[in-house]
């Protein structure tokens, strides 16, 4: 019982950290063809992500692996029910991953253009589709004893699309702030201006999302049962407002505010879902919950021990990476033949 609750929380945490980290490289990836006016500027943007994107993406692999190990039934149904959208996300991520490595390995304009498109599309598609997927999970999927009754088109319902749009704006804001602190020259000025333009849209969509959630989902049930949980969405709102106040004066603080926004937004959803991982929109008795889809207590215990020992170590060396590469990327650096860059 206790282990299932712990793993439900960890499941949420893995997704939250994943979106907080890959969120800014998705955002920067989407923005790079527009913000980078020259090849040099595009390369600067890509090189802000160079040392970290791969480590960020491992949080997704770990979230997937943890779902498999801790909630195998959820893993099995989620991945087979959402076969086609997951395949599209997968192809997009593969295309994006190789694009970072391959872009700088050829000299022609055509070559670079191809991989620029790959980085753009490979960042945009997963961003929106992850939003759509979570929107649909919040609403519940049409599952009964015979399995799933939706199609790919079914997932693109208004609430799903709204969540997709919400994710897109969150990550654009997040990516723009990342670039505001990690680049030099004209780029941070342009990035800040994008952040300022995206922010009111983000707030507007966030409000619409909160209102629609009341009608389309049961996310608020847990909050009304125990008002103390409202602290999490309130943190999200405060952090979102803080972004606005810090963007000009201290983009670093704005970026941290945006990190907290994403964490709090994801947890707002996760708390609302509890104990469901995938609710059924047909009948709650077919919902996949932390209790009916979990591994045995023994497996969960082993996994908990592994996590307690190793996740702090992972965090330590990942933080070390961000420290090593804390300085903004400069044109001198990416044009220096003695420094390896993308």
């Amino acid at each position: 019982m206790v282990y299932q609750i712990i793993w439900f929380a960890l499941w949420g945490l893995l997704w939250a950290v994943y979106f907080m980290l890959d969120g800014f490289d998705f955002g920067a990836g989407i923005l790079h063809p527009f913000l980078g006016k020259s090849d040099e500027e595009k390369r600067m943007i890509i090189n802000t992500l160079g040392p970290v994107w791969d480590g960020n993406e491992v949080w997704l692999i770990t979230a997937g692996g943890a779902t498999f190990a801790a909630f195998p039934t959820t893993y099995a149904y989620m991945f087979s029910y959402l076969y086609t959208p997951l395949l599209i996300i997968l192809f997009a991520l593969i295309f994006r991953g190789v694009a970072f490595e391959f872009r700088g390995k050829g000299k022609s304009e055509q070559w670079k253009k191809l991989w620029d498109v790959a980085i753009f599309a490979g960042s945009l598609i997963p961003t929106i589709l992850f939003g759509v997927a979570f929107g649909n999970i919040f609403q519940g999927l049409p599952i009964d004893a015979n399995g799933y009754h939706g199609s790919l088109a079914y997932l693109l319902n208004p609430y799903g699309i709204l969540t997709g749009l919400f994710f897109l704006l969150l990550f654009l804001e997040h990516g723009a702030l990342w670039l505001a602190i990690k680049t030099t020259g004209e780029l941070p000025i342009r990035a800040k201006s994008v952040a300022k333009k995206v922010w009111p849209l983000l707030v507007a969509v966030a409000v619409i999302f909160l209102i629609f959630s009341a009608f389309k989902t049961h996310l608020y049930d847990n909050y009304l049962k125990n008002l103390v949980w409202f602290i999490v969405p309130i943190i999200a709102v405060i952090a979102l407002l803080a972004i606005f106040f810090f963007t000009e004066k201290s983009p670093v603080k704005a970026f941290f505010a945006s990190c907290i926004t994403i964490l709090a937004v994801v947890f707002t959803g996760i708390i609302g879902l509890y104990p469901n991982l995938i609710p059924s929109s047909i009948d709650p008795k077919y919902s996949l919950t932390a209790f009916n889809s979990s591994s045995s207590p023994y497996t969960l215990k082993i996994m908990t021990i592994v996590v307690i020992i190793f996740v702090p170590i992972v965090l330590l060396y990942q933080i070390w990476t961000y420290k090593i590469f804390k300085d903004p990327v400069t044109p001198e650096e990416i044009n220096d033949p003695e420094v390896e860059t993308y």
Partner: protein, 448 residues
Amino acid sequence: MDVVTLSRIQFAMTAMFHFIFVPLTLGLSILVAIMETLYVKTGNELYLRMTKFWGKLFLINFALGVVTGITMEFQFGMNWAEYSKYVGDIFGAPLAIEATLAFFLESTFLGIWIFGWKKISKKAHAFAIWMVAIGSNISALWILVANAWMQHPVGYVLRNGRAEMTNFFALFSSYAITKFFHQILAGYTVGAFFVMGVSAYHLLRKSNLEFFKKSFKIAATFALIVAFAEIVVGDWHAYEVAKTQPTKLAAMESHWETQKGAPMYLLVFPNEAKEKNAIELLPIPKLLSFLAIHDFNGEVKGLKDFPKDERPPVLITFLSFRLMVGLGMLFALLALIGFYLSKKDKLVDTTLFLKIMLYMIPIPYIANFLGWTVAEVGRQPWIVYGVLKTADAVSKSISTSQVWMSLFGFVAFYSLLGVIDIYLLTKYAKKGPEESAISAKKAEAVTA
């Protein structure tokens, strides 16, 4: 074709494609780490140039290894949902642990290694590549522990309609341990032959002689140790297979009748339909018994002792196994010759050997594929040996058209990536160290 067949084709295809990159990552990461360590220890710029040249080839390869690995994790749920549900309690754990212990280590330190040349000390930089190499090996350990469990399920009970873990440490069976060493040594062989092959190409053209002689020598020394160790470990692993998967062993040897003191025939060709061998010549008495159970008079079970629907496809298993063993012997022989010529500094004069080594580059990959074919085809019709059949493991909610579409997508997409990758690897391998090494000019001055 039905969903099971299509899903099997898709899994085999995506796994094999993923496995073009994995063994080279295992082998080359260690070699690059050795080169950089030599640089830190000696301060010799030649080793720095070697680190950068082979490092670049490593990176091109690594990128595809990572992205195709994500496919593997997704696929268990996408195509094999019934399997995932049935064994997730015990099979999911090593996968999740792999991500936590290995993938973070590999990817984070790789980022530090690529971009950190001027940002951290030399020692810290060499430490980073060792972390990448160790991460790759830890990753191999957990994935092979997971796979070994499918071959030889242990430490579980069937309860609540699924396999539940009862003893985590049982996962490290001697089957799993031998499988792990068998595979990493196979990966090291790929890396060593890759470095020797590319070096041979340049030695044949007499370009950067000192650079490539040294690279060849490091790789040949590594290959010598690895290839001979592989023969020992391979035998040990086959012994574990004989103990735990008698049908697979019988198929590997095309052995039909249960027999004590079974001979091994040098020339065999199976005839599956007639349940015997079409050709069976040159017996060596009692050898099969000895190899399989380390006892000249031991009993080796024949295929006929098992129901027809529980036997793996004999011909594929048999041929893959024989060919793999033959190649393993060949690698040991070539490694020995290479090490000798390298030691006597006669490499450049032995053009025939260099040509052979150049064309050997793809062969260890093939040996790896053959090994996995033995392991996976030889396990059929079971997905978990003796517990769950492959046909019962497939997702119920997916349609043939969905799998056709994804299979088509994978073939098209992976072909494109494969072509680009081979193009880039060839381009940078041919270029030689000057163009790709960063401090080439400086190093040239030192070593000239």
